[in-house]
Symmetry: C2
Subunit: 726 residues, 2 copies
């Protein structure tokens, strides 16, 4: 018998290692005719039955699969739910004699064992397949079949081929992109990994294409609307492109846990040329300022259209908003949450250390930990096949690049329940998330020899409040209790003990002398540019008169808790009678802080001092988030699909300085693609008036989002709800 | 009070994010004089005591810390063990009046809270510190102090400064690299994370700088000596350079789990420009063939001297050997293990699928999984602070880039005990390692319509034997039972059930008809270039006479299990009486296989057939590892430190073809730096005779390693034990 020749491997050079599919975009081309194994082709194959066309029933199938709202001309189905295909032959199909197979394929290395090649047979020759097929109806030369993708099927874009099989060979239809279709996760199916039982929740966490992201600071919560836009034209393809560009093997794309893990890495540009470049420098002149974006669709489409070049720039809410779109587009229930205040655990020791000079002022050089005013991340809802059952449900995924996540720029998915229970040995990155919501703030003070000692520990400042948008309405829900038991409860103590046995460093502080005096800092809601008064209420809880010396440091602060510069440093002294409270007030002039303001306009006040009679220390800190001026928005006309609406957005510069490089963005899923308008400058007292026409293209409750951004003003946003009729 | 000016952050641009130290190499420069906080300097500080010099007691300290054997002129100490420093002043030190501090610093951002800045005080002013200090002795103008690095101290190179403190300021000694020292992990200390109680094991797993790596195939185990060389000049610095070049934050470098995780990523070049570039293509002309290396020191020194350019090329034993050196150099107990046979779980389903054509031959195009003859990885010994207690001990770390390790090219550390117990939810990558030792080999056969069905399942082929070098002697120990319970035992069933609840896919096979006939393939040890006979013993375990039709496929195979080409395909038929065994023999001529051989010279024979009477399938496969010709090595002279020895290495080409581009390597820790000699060609029957002089530089039992490499011959190695006296 002749030996086969020395053939190279089909995928190129002779390799000693396996290749496999890492791209949904690349496709294999299959021959039109194939002789059966062992049968040598001898001219054209005899052929008695021939496929004329396939009808994918796009409209009906999409309706049944909750995918009609995708602006995408192809069929989109969800796993483990039957969809219909009509096969038209040149003569009636005889299932006792004829065999037709539907082949579904994804990627360039179709392999039955990897789920990238599926064959479903109808007729006389039976095959086993992970996808189910039923012959539903015969009518004339046509049959109608029902196909049910496996509940663990890969997510992505599949090609369809029809193959007529007979004794000597196979004849395959030509590649036709009109019969391509997408398979998505199925939160409606009880067997799917991402099943979510509650319909109202599915409507919010999968189907809502607009949302609210909370920001500001804990005593003065603000928000902005965000256009998720997961159904906008091109967005689903852009999401699949992200997985391709990150070379995620196709065979793992059916596992929501793996998809979430990879996405948390791929949404930031570090390591892997991912979607968004993070930037916290204050200089965004080479891209779009993080505060200027209004939604994800613009970002995702830009990333895909530039072939995978990172989009500039993002901070946490932009990362979380865009990742949220990615999840919802693929059918994984997801939401954006905000944690007030969030520790960036730079030392792995769940302590944020604030270093004070001997005079009580903040030693900015030695203070290396930070407490973010707020931090946004995502939660995704799924069964964790890899963990004990009780840890399924909401999982944290965080794509904002934070240095300490297992040495790489990604985080999660980690079970929210694991965080709550302190059961931190489980994948992925639970220790990091635990620290974000449970760190202590520790104040150290240097003595004159340069030695520091702990003077105050605040165990409640971090993770005080965790919120997310309430489903199907405005306002937030407080989900703090999903992450932690009430501080000081028996459960809280049990959790901290388990967390320590799972590798969280023990936190032991020598008992600190209780000064018996507390300071409470009060402030009203203040607009950027206003003078204001800071009130420090000194509460004497002892039976002695106490004289308190205070140093107040005022700094401009980023939302990440890092201070950029100190603009105020004052000393006060006040004598407070036993059991009394005395206010100390400090006037702050706009002229003092305006030139120091940084994006998001936060001021940090740290108060430190001592009780003269006892020498004991007192400390307090407070962030004030200054409010920007208002953006006015108005719509005139009847909101109806296909009918023009007049939109006008206006803004007046209330300051005595010129605003430069002002960017105005208008956005709204189903209403308009993102519109960007730039103004070189807006003079003191001058105004901007932008008027444009939009044409809604999708019915229902829509949100039109406006955002104005420049230095030093950011987060000037507004939104209008518009009910679009069909 | 004047406001501080608008100062930038000390580390450059005004950032809203925290910077921190990621390099041991970069250092901060500190001022010689520092006024105390709040005290403005007014000319030179008054100074009544002055430090003249520091004596690090390098020789005595190294002896006490088990670090004398490092060829490194600096002090090297281990954590949580005291070392001595003498401080010489200009006058006697008065501990009731004077204060002197020793400052230990690593990296460019010294921070007490991150363990990168440590101050230990002696005298009148006390400080708290994580490192302990004792004033041991005063003599004349000198004091002797004992310093004990914290048991969780960062590993790396520290600078030392002495600071005299008085009421107005500090005076610091100048930077002096002679007082730099290294801190390493301490396997001798019961409180250290890497404590190993048994001295004989410490001598092997930390102190032995030469070892044996097992290879070949399970029925014919081979080995090669490997020069770990962790004490060679420059190797410790190269290992720290790897962490710097991988930007591993200093503050995590005290945690052996984190160090192992990062090292498993940094030892391969993918993602991060790590140490070694993997190559399995067969073309190594742009670097050194993986089979040609003799040890790690050459590789690590090359990587460091080229400033972090990946060294070309490696396969698994080179990766594992080099990572082993890294661990031992830093003081983490480590060993190289070999798994026969090792599944590369390309589908995450712990099945390796072998696809057969209808005629029984292997369908190479459709077979995408691979079973490696053997695979080497590392085990490291440590307490896992992050896991439940029972999962401390040996941990798997694998730096060979395998595509499926959590989407990134690294693997581990994962507890060997977790693998054994099937408790696979714990970090890191336990599922992948579980598959390497527990996968099933599943034979699928296509019918003539192109549909496949399972015809044979082998649940015992993978992970049959796991070995590592026996401590302090030659030969291996079988550690298979560390990884798994005996196949089929009650414990084995319990483990598989738990593994499935932890995310391993369920493996269900429809019951396969038992053919009642078994095939056992036998072969002797065969040298490359010999003709041989393959014997297939057909064992009929039924009460009927059975006629068996067999197809035998013979392929050249890489050690990764991938076949490069089929060189033999034959059919046989044999009739075997009830309860009898009949041999079928196949002659294989050297001329048939020689031109197809690939590196490591493996042949794979797959036998598939059926029992004619019943139509039932029979299958078997066998790898044959052909032995290379011998390398002769001889040493003349008395092995003594500093005295010349004559070494001669010789090789004769036994073949009728010319060997081209022959590379000969000679290596031996403590004996000689790596020597490489190249020969353009060696004629048929011709020989190579290499003679050189080496001068041993370290006493004790040493191993001289020789290795000859060319295409198509590889793994031609030999070793000589040499006992070097002082």
């Amino acid at each position: 018998m002749a030996l086969p020749s020395h053939l190279p491997w089909p995928w190129g050079s002779q390799r000693a290692r396996i290749a496999f599919a890492i791209s949904n975009a690349l496709e294999v081309s299959l021959p039109e005719c194939e002789s059966l194994p062992g049968v040598m082709p001898r001219g054209p194959l005899p052929q008695t039955l021939s496929v004329q066309s396939l009808d994918m029933h796009i409209t009906e199938n999409k309706q049944a699969h909750n995918t009609s709202m995708y602006k995408n001309s192809s069929l989109i189905v969800r796993r483990n739910k039957e969809f219909l295909i009509d096969i038209l032959f040149d003569r009636p199909f005889d299932e006792t004699q004829d065999t037709v197979q539907l082949e579904f394929m994804i990627g360039s290395v179709p392999d039955e064992n990897k789920g990238t090649y599926i064959t479903v047979s109808f007729g006389s020759v039976k095959t086993e397949s992970s996808w189910r097929g039923r012959l539903l109806e015969k009518q004339g030369n046509s049959i109608r079949v029902g196909i049910t993708p496996d509940v663990q099927s890969i997510i992505g874009r599949f090609s369809t081929f029809a193959v007529v099989v007979n004794e000597t060979g196979k004849r395959r239809t030509e590649k036709n992109s009109a019969t391509d279709f997408y398979v998505l996760f199925n939160p409606w199916d009880p067997s799917d990994q991402v099943y979510m039982p509650n319909e109202a929740e599915r409507q919010e966490y999968v189907m809502n294409d607009v949302g609210t992201i909370y920001n500001g600071e804990i005593n003065d919560i603000s928000f902005r609307s965000w256009n998720y836009g997961q159904f906008e034209e091109g967005v689903l393809d852009a999401c699949l492109f992200i997985l391709d560009s990150g070379k995620m093997p196709l065979m793992y794309r059916g596992n929501a846990t793996e998809v979430a893990r990879q996405a948390s890495a791929l949404m930031n540009s570090i390591d892997d040329n991912g979607v968004l470049a993070g930037n916290w420098t204050g200089d965004y002149s080479s891209g779009t300022a993080p505060t200027a974006w209004t939604g994800s669709a613009e970002i995702l489409l830009k990333y895909a259209s530039k072939g995978g070049a990172p989009v500039c720039f993002a901070q946490c809410w932009v990362f979380a908003g865009t990742l949220n779109t990615f999840f919802r587009a693929l059918g994984i229930p997801a939401r954006v949450i905000t944690n007030y205040c969030s520790a960036h655990d730079n030392g792995g020791n769940i302590k944020a250390n604030i270093m004070l000079n001997p005079d009580g002022s903040v030693n900015r050089k030695k203070t290396r930990d930070s407490i973010w005013n707020y931090h946004c991340w995502n939660e995704v809802f799924m069964k964790r096949f890899d963990l004990p059952d009780q840890y399924s449900g909401w999982q944290v995924a965080d794509c904002t690049p934070q240095e300490t996540s297992d040495g790489l720029y990604r985080c999660g998915p980690t079970s929210v329940k694991c965080i709550k229970e302190g059961d931190l040995s489980y994948s992925f990155d639970s220790r990091f998330v635990f620290a974000e919501v449970n760190s202590d703030v520790v104040f150290h003070q240097f003595d004159k020899y340069g030695n520091s000692k702990i003077v105050h520990v605040d165990t409640t400042y971090v993770g005080q409040l965790i919120v997310t948008k309430r489903p199907n309405t405005n306002g937030y829900i407080d989900i703090t209790l999903n992450y932690k038991y009430p501080k000081g409860s028996a459960e809280d103590k049990r959790v901290m003990q388990l967390a320590e046995r799972r590798g969280i460093p023990k936190r032991k502080y020598s008992p600190l002398p209780d000064a018996g005096v507390q300071i409470d800092i009060k402030a009203e809601t203040i607009k950027i540019g206003e003078n204001f008064t800071l009130t420090m209420n000194i509460k004497n809880q002892t039976s002695q008169t106490s004289t308190v010396s205070l140093t107040v440091t005022g700094c401009a602060m980023y939302y990440t808790g890092l201070t950029s510069s100190t603009f105020k440093l004052e000393n006060y002294s006040s004598t407070v009678d036993a059991w009394q409270t005395t206010p100390v007030t400090m006037k702050v002039q706009a002229a003092e802080y305006m030139s120091f303001l940084v994006e998001q306009s936060n001021l940090l006040f740290v108060v430190h001092g001592q009780v003269n009679e006892t020498g004991k220390s007192v400390s307090a800190m407070r962030v004030i988030n200054l409010r920007p001026p208002e953006l006015m928005m108005k719509v005139t006309g009847v909101p109806q699909v296909g009918r023009d609406l007049m939109v006008s957005v206006s803004f007046q510069n209330p300051y005595n300085f010129t605003l430069k490089n002002v960017q105005l963005r208008l956005d709204g899923a189903g209403l308009t693609p993102t519109k960007v308008k730039s103004y070189d400058q807006v003079a003191p007292g001058g105004s901007v008036q932008y008027t444009d026409t939009i044409t809604p293209y999708s019915p229902g409750r829509k949100v039109l989002i406006g955002c104005l951004d420049c230095i030093p003003l950011s987060q000037i946003t507004n939104q209008l709800e518009i009910n679009v009729v069909n």
